[in-house]
């Protein structure tokens, strides 16, 4: 079977880009640092050598202009894929994204289309501090007219990227930095994964945990530990933030009666807030306890490793919170929490977890 092959999330994105470039002449890439030795964290390695600098365009440092140019080219039938190394750089382009990309179709009474993919990297780094480590996915998820996707697993990163490139709408393709080295089974060749909603990552009965991207992995990890003490958590990987299809979440909550959301971004007005609100509207009677939203505390992301402890939710935090929700004796959680701690051992707090080598 070709899909026995294991590659990383970053390599899967690279393959998706190459497949799309090879299939459709209208596809081209623009970005800072996509045709340089860093090749966008390796995701465009060798791509300029294969497709040339007219299809892999190294760009000036001008994010709003670049994004607007890409929108204009997309309206004229091209299929650009632009890349922004950090969501903070995308903030410079938010004017074009929100005013033009998201509205060209509506404002032309359906005439214009913007088949554009904007790759945006979110997440934590190594002491990057308040202006290089944010997770602002909900800013984009707020905007009608955009599609916002946030893959977790390598195979999905490739399939969803191809689907995003084929899509006639502007798609914000969010890549969490700590996922790049996570490996998984990835089919070869050209394939698409529909941008149609969540997937169950772990089946369970007692509590529904809804997460995206890196937080899905932390939730999966928590679910494994909880399972050992007979608590069955269902983990749902949200995958697509907009358009939001919560059918699988409703079905899960109907079964479990309990909901925990885990966000990479801030809790207030975050993804979990929307999930909880909709679940409350759609399946209020099924809820056995108030839903719980987890995410970073309500302050900027500090640089120092001294300030970071407790900032990012992790498997251990999820285990503890689920334990409280289900009134599990903390003593019974101890062994599992120890296992989680051992997996990290003395790894510094700002370094991705060895647990996430995959494959999944």
């Amino acid at each position: 079977m070709p899909d026995d092959r294991v590659i990383t999330f970053g390599e899967a994105i690279r393959e998706g880009l190459i497949e799309a470039l090879a299939r459709d002449e209208a596809v081209f890439l623009m970005g800072e640092g996509i045709a340089d030795p860093s090749s966008f964290w390796g995701t465009t390695a060798g791509v300029v050598e294969r497709f040339g600098p007219d299809r892999v365009m190294e760009m000036p440092v001008a994010e709003n202009g670049m994004t607007g140019v890409a929108i204009g080219a997309a309206m004229a039938g091209q299929r650009p894929v632009i890349s922004l190394h950090r969501v903070e750089f995308a903030l410079l382009a938010i004017e074009q994204i929100v005013n033009n990309a998201a509205k060209a179709h509506y404002l032309s009474n359906g005439y214009h289309k913007v088949p554009l993919v904007i790759r945006i990297v979110i997440g934590r780094g190594w002491g990057q501090g308040p202006e290089h480590a944010q997770s602002l996915e909900s800013v984009f998820a707020h905007i009608p007219g955009l599609k916002v996707v946030m893959p977790t697993f390598a195979s999905e990163a490739k399939g969803m990227l191809i689907a995003a490139i084929e899509d006639d709408n502007p798609v914000i393709f969010i890549e969490h930095r700590w996922l790049y080295n996570v490996a998984g089974h990835v089919p070869e060749g050209y394939y698409r994964q529909p941008l149609n909603g969540p997937k169950v990552a772990v089946k369970g009965r007692d509590v529904t945990i809804v997460a995206s991207a890196y937080m899905t992995l932390e939730a999966v990890r928590a679910a494994k530990v909880l399972e050992d003490i007979g608590c069955s958590a269902e983990v749902i990987d949200l995958r697509v933030l907009r358009p939001l299809n919560l059918g699988p979440v409703y079905r899960s909550v109907q079964k479990t009666g309990r909901l925990v959301t885990v966000d990479t971004g801030w809790v207030q007005y975050g993804i979990g807030a929307e999930v909880v609100a909709r679940v409350a509207s759609e399946c209020f009677e099924a809820l056995k306890s108030p839903p719980l939203r987890l995410g970073p505390p309500d302050h900027p992301t500090p640089s120092s490793r001294g300030l970071i402890p407790g900032f990012y939710p992790d498997g251990d935090r999820i285990v503890q919170e689920v334990g409280k929700l289900l009134a599990i004796d903390p003593e019974r959680l101890k062994a599992g929490r120890r296992t989680l701690a051992e997996q990290r051992r003395d790894l510094p707090i700002d370094t991705p977890d060895p647990f996430f080598k995959g494959p999944f």
Binding site: G306, L307, F311
Partner: protein, 334 residues
């Protein structure tokens, strides 16, 4: 409106020998601090990105020496040299990079966010171009209050590609703001050469098109930087508005981090070696010895003092306590 032309700086008499010595030792201090960072970086106790200015010291030192303590500076991701040249506290700088509570902003920002507002080092922002409007706003505030202070915005060649540079150039020229736009052109944005990012035209013409005088100088000649900056500062203090200063220079080490990276393919070893020949510090040293302003004993004594200061600062930064998680939520609101 005719754009007044700035006369090329006249080298010589108006720079005292004390100042020439000061330039040298200030640059050397910046170099030694950054080499100290590079040497210790692999210990992995400085857990934040570092963008070193090694090779570019003359711009920071020459420009800041033309300022008064009350004048203000804004910087970028590459802010170490500006911070030190503006008399930022060395211990608090290193403590910040080590993530310590005693850091200049308590470990919140790390190396890319250095500031020492009491010394006029107002802020460093690691988004390209992002601190330029803050500098213009600072100048606007001084203009509104009748202060004679001058503000400097330091930035790299890539900032000229960002819209905000042009918005601010236009506005500052329009309102004759007491602000200096100081561009350190080190030819690269990360791994991408200027020629792959901008059409060939003098960067000074870009500024002139906004209606402000512009002057280009050798960014590895601290005296030239000083003189050009002083000229621009005087103009600003006289209420004649902003000036754009372009200084060509070169970053010796990798864009971010302590290593050399001439082998990875974006620039050549020979280009690097050419620029290294033009070391701003060695140049100034030669000048001092030739003019008989410095002798080896004097030099050795001064360097020993600088080294002692730097060693003490590293020792402090390493031993002072880490920032505490309980402080992380402070200061979200005023």
């Amino acid at each position: 409106m005719a754009i007044p032309d700035i006369k090329p700086p006249n080298t010589g008499p108006d720079v005292s020998s004390d100042l020439l010595l000061k330039f040298y030792f200030e640059m050397l201090r910046v170099r030694l601090v950054e080499e100290g960072i590079a040497d210790r970086y692999s210990e992995q106790e400085m857990r934040c990105p570092v963008h070193l200015s090694i090779g570019q010291e003359a711009v920071a030192v020459g420009a800041c020496q033309a300022l008064q303590p009350r004048d203000k500076v804004f910087s970028t991701h590459r802010c170490h040299a500006h911070y030190l040249a503006k008399a930022g506290d060395l211990k608090r700088m290193l403590a910040e990079i080590y993530g310590k509570a005693a850091g200049c902003i308590g470990g919140r920002g790390g190396s890319m966010h250095l500031m020492d507002p009491d010394k006029g080092m107002i802020a460093s922002i690691p988004l390209v171009g992002s601190s330029i409007p803050l500098a213009a706003g600072s100048a606007l505030a001084d203009q509104r209050t009748g202060s004679d202070r001058v503000t400097v915005a330091f930035f790299g060649d890539a900032a000229l590609e960002e819209g905000v540079f042009h918005e601010c150039g236009n506005f500052a020229a329009l309102r004759r703001l007491p602000v200096l736009f100081v561009c350190e052109n080190n030819l690269y944005s990360v791994y991408t050469h200027l020629d792959d990012r901008q059409p060939k035209r003098p960067l000074t013409e870009v500024a002139r098109a906004h209606g402000m005088p512009a002057l280009a100088g050798d960014g590895n000649d601290v005296v030239a930087v000083y003189q050009a900056t002083r000229e621009a500062v005087e103009r600003a203090r006289r209420g004649e508005g902003p000036t754009f200063l372009l200084f060509d220079t070169y970053r010796w080490r990798e864009h971010c981090g302590p290593n050399y990276d001439n082998d990875i393919g974006y620039r050549s070893e020979s280009e690097y070696l050419e620029w290294r020949e033009r070391c701003p510090i060695a140049h100034q040293r030669r000048l001092l010895f030739e003019a008989g302003l410095l002798d080896p004993d004097q030099e050795e004594a001064r360097i020993a003092k600088i080294r002692a200061e730097i060693d003490a600062a590293f020792a402090f930064a390493k031993s002072t306590p880490l920032a505490d998680p309980s402080q992380a939520s402070d200061h979200v609101y005023a």
